[in-house]
Amino acid sequence: MGQPQLNLSPKVSDEVRKTTCYMCACRCGINVHMKDGKVAYIEGNRDHPVNQGVLCAKGSAGIMQHNAPSRLRKPLKRVGERGSGEFEEIEWDEALQIACDWLEPIRAEDPSKLAFFTGRDQSQSFTSFWAQNFGTPNYAAHGGFCSVNMAAAGIYTMGGAFWEFGQPDWDRTKLFMLFGVAEDHDSNPIKMGIGRLKKNGGKIIGVNPIRTGYNAVADEWVGITPGTDGLFILALIHELLKAGKIDLDYLARFTNSPVLVNSDPASPEYGLLMRDKDGKLLVIDRATGKPAAFDKKGVKPSLSATYEKDGVTHVPVMHMLAERYLQPEYAPEAVAERCGVSADRIRAIAAELARVAFEEAFELPIEWTDFRGETHKTMTGRPVSFHSMRGISAHSNGFQTCRSLHLLQILLGSVEVPGGFRFKPPYPKPVSAHPKPHCKVTPGKPLDGPHLGFVQGPEGLCLREDGTPARIDKAFSWENPMSSHGLMHMVISNAYAGDPYKIDTLFMYMANMSWNSSMNTSGTMKMLTDKDENGDYVIPRIIYSDAYSSEMVAYADLVLPDTTYLERHDCISLLDRPICEADAAADAIRWPVVEPDRDVRGFQTVLVQLANKMGLPGFTNEDGSSKYEDYADYITNHQRKPGIGPLAGFRGNGDSHGRGDVNPQQIDRYIENGGFFVSHIPDEASYFKPWNAAYQDWAVDMGLYDSPQPYVFDVYVETMRKFQLAAEGHGDRQPPDHLRQRIKDTLDPLPIWYPPFEEGLVSEEEFPLHALTQRPMAMYHSWGTQNAWLRQIHGRNPLYVPTDIWEKNGFNTGDWAKLSSAHGSITVPVAHMAALNPKTVWTWNAIGKRKGAWALDDDAPEAKEGFLLNHLIHELLPSKGDGMRWANSDPITGQAAWFDLRVQIEKVDAPDEVQPAIPPINSPVGKGPRSLAWKVEK
């Protein structure tokens, strides 16, 4: 019998439409293959700067997300009790009218009665613009409960951060050290980078209590005890300093290590940096021995010279730094037990970092000129790079830990050098060039400026006249002064408690707050549904927008159904969280590659429609007519400053980039170009960007800055010292007394380590274990479960238990355990895992689902055996008996301290389902089909 004749060249599709993925926060370019007007197949876009053709499991499963039975179909008005999930479908006109009837009186009387928080929003420059024009100070996205410590520590220390704002120099790095990471933060680029690094013979050190994913392919795994990363890093710094394996030339030229510090404890300026009359930082010039502005042409800053002025000794930051970290408390022996890493291993890692940074250093033959006018014939490479995100961020000592990591990078001279860590435009950008937070509310008027930003001292805090927090989340207050992304995890709790004040309407987008996106999930559900003595809801009104039947939908009074990512316009903007590469500025769009088959609207377009109905100033022309019809119109025609709009590419007649007039055809030009725009950085500008005159000039041309902004890295953060000074009693703006000691202790201007707060408040004997979650690579938060293909990969999330604990408790396969914290208990299935820190248990994040949500059957494993650790984590710390509500957050940034959780474990008989068993909610979309055989071309 002969072989069958095959058609080896079948038609692949009628058309390929190129847009941007939204299956996680990575924002890869995708080719959507269309057949008969339907989505037939999705693959990565080879030309796209982020993913260069590859695509992860989530992205490839986009077709199942786009067609998920959980999609909302029409606006919903609540008819049952809040939380029941009983709704009636209404028309859009009615939905918009209801929203306006609630919002307009608030705006006229007190705009701060609206709390508008967006979750996994990728349009923050737009949503914040809307909130600013509404006039409420209460706006933020989800950064505060995600990774603000990493972002803020990076920007305060080096004017840039990991992921969106920087990346390892993958082609040249030889040693890559990765600390705990959330997988969706730069997902495909890290995988691609690891592949390239390994191909080049480079090594990876993974520091993570759990050995999965990237840590599974790491050459060396450091199974550190959670919350001790900062101590481990400071021990590495101790070893490097002791051996003199630091880049002194780099520190002198490019950091504030040579800047003079007031060292008189009696001075009201103790610890502040010395400046000249123009406010320029002062260093001692080695050539003259005299003070000079740090950026003066030709100045050679000294790391050692001290300076007396008016009887006060000023020492360079370098003295303070060396003195601190040479202390024996940072020696490997002193930290080994606490970190769960042997002293020998810490020393070996330090030796390896030093060997690669200094013995494998190399020169690139690229001439460049620095901001002091000195021309360098070559660029020196130090091929050691680092990456981290959520793992070290989500602790109450996270900001200082993230700062410690950046200090380590800087001491090795490996930031913005070949082989090291590189910024992506619009970064580098000094703190001083970032906006400051604004909170001045005027009824009927816009807020006085952008909500979020970077404070530079007590004068920048968002406080009301009586000194209480101006924002509902208490961001930029004494409780967490440098909370650059807000504190979304505190909004519901504070609104419920009326602390600092009551609100009227809670308006949220893409944030599953009644389930996996809140701490204290059961408590949050109660706060959302609780009524006061008059029978009114304590949080009077809730508007929610989501594309899917998430757990949060049931808690809204009005639901505004969003589109899927293939049905919408979006812009991935340089004004927001860009998709640039170290060698290029880039931005991108989404566009409706298919039209919705349901009565849904893109949320951003709905915001435009609401703004138009209310006549919000930024959306209204002088004659009262509306500026924008929908979001696409805004993307094309909005200008932040003359010539600067949401999209940088194809401006003016289509040939201007960065700056240029509005181009009515701009979106079409993006579509023709594959959905994105990219502009490459010239070679001579490609490294040393904060100090490189060629880069600074390129950035001005691109519209990233209005003038060159060279700066030095802040190994010493003076802003933090200003808050300490206030806590010590200096200055007009004073913290409340109960916060003074904590500010003095934690806002140290040089990185420190202190134990996570929960550790100090619960007994280690009672709660001996740490409990963590991780994100599986094939799922994005709660979204993956509604995806028929992805839930077959990660449909279950047992609690993984390390060998010793497994054996001590006599666990066997199929057993269940009761896991308890100071706050609550859950009963869950367990599984053994050997590649795990011996004091840590963990599970996959957000696999557990509530019955009735996501169009799943009630007996789906996600609903019966899937669980959340969130029930064990409170948004407040255990009571200290002082009557105060202490947030379970970093005291500097307010970052949610998810990973501080301490637990105990106990074997129990298997129940019918996980405990607590939360009752089902009514589904507004019904259930999914019994079988799928998805082929567009029949």
Binding site: Y41, K58, S60, K198, A351, A778, P929, S931
Partner: protein
């Protein structure tokens, strides 16, 4: 019973790097997407939103813990699909001739028109690499994307299996393992590529590159860094000695 070709002109197959595979399942889903829309019956899913979702996949990733005695435990991600064996028992066992190995490139395929869904081939395959589709009741297996690799409607660079095109870590390679000079054969040679379960005598074409030695350098107790000054002199001595260097 069905006969195998005496030899094939090429031996097309995959080389999978177990040192680099991070276990992300990108290949699994990309394969599902392409092969649902293309060759033969779609890869169906039963109870896709219910208690026991079970679908057809041509490629799956399994994860195994390895526990060396003197080192930390390791996790190995192991992608598995049809290995397009030279001596494919799934072909010879087929009662209808539906299972066959192509003479020109060695790809093992199922002709769905003649497949009676008896399942003998799946029993014969020692790797568990074939799956009966729950909807169509025909045997499904990796086609090495035979409808991509020669497809003139695709740009040349895309004429590779979808799992290879999508793999973010670059852990999957495609080529002619019958040509000792091909890039994949060179890679197998350099990295000591291995056959899966050679004792089964199936002569698999696909190869696996083993993980490199892990957790090694730091257990060899390398020389610690030498201090700049003896401890007794402390900070002042360190400062003098260090800052002289600038």
């Amino acid at each position: 019973m069905t006969t195998l070709p005496e030899s094939t002109d090429k031996k097309l197959g995959l080389v999978i790097d177990l040192d680099t595979c991070v276990g992300c399942h990108a290949c699994v889903i990309s394969c599902k997407g392409w092969n649902t829309e293309n060759y033969g019956a779609p890869l169906s899913d039963q109870d896709p939103y219910g208690a026991d979702p079970v679908g057809t996949f041509l490629n799956r990733v399994h994860s195994f813990e390895v526990q060396p005695e003197d080192k930390p435990a390791q996790l190995i991600h192991f992608p598995k699909s049809c290995l397009h064996c030279d001596d494919a028992p799934c072909v010879t066992v087929c009662p209808t001739g539906a299972s066959y190995k192509r003479a020109e490139d060695g790809i093992v395929l199922v002709n769905e028109d003649s497949c009676i869904g008896c399942g003998l081939c799946a029993w014969a395959c020692p790797y568990g690499a074939r799956e009966m589709d729950g909807e169509e009741k025909v045997m499904k297996k990796c086609t090495l994307c035979v409808d991509r690799i020669y497809n003139e409607n695709l740009p040349e660079e895309d004429r590779v299996p979808s799992c290879v095109r999508t793999c973010p870590a670059g852990a999957r390679h495609f080529g002619d393992l019958g040509d000792p000079n091909s890039a994949v054969s060179v890679l197998v040679e350099e990295r000591g590529g291995i056959d899966l379960m050679p004792e089964q005598g199936t002569k698999p074409v696909n190869k696996y590159l083993p993980p490199r030695l892990k957790d090694d350098i730091f257990y060899q107790a390398p020389e610690p860094l030498a201090p700049v000054v003896a401890e007794a002199k402390g900070f002042v001595g360190w400062l003098d000695k260090m800052l002289d260097k600038v």
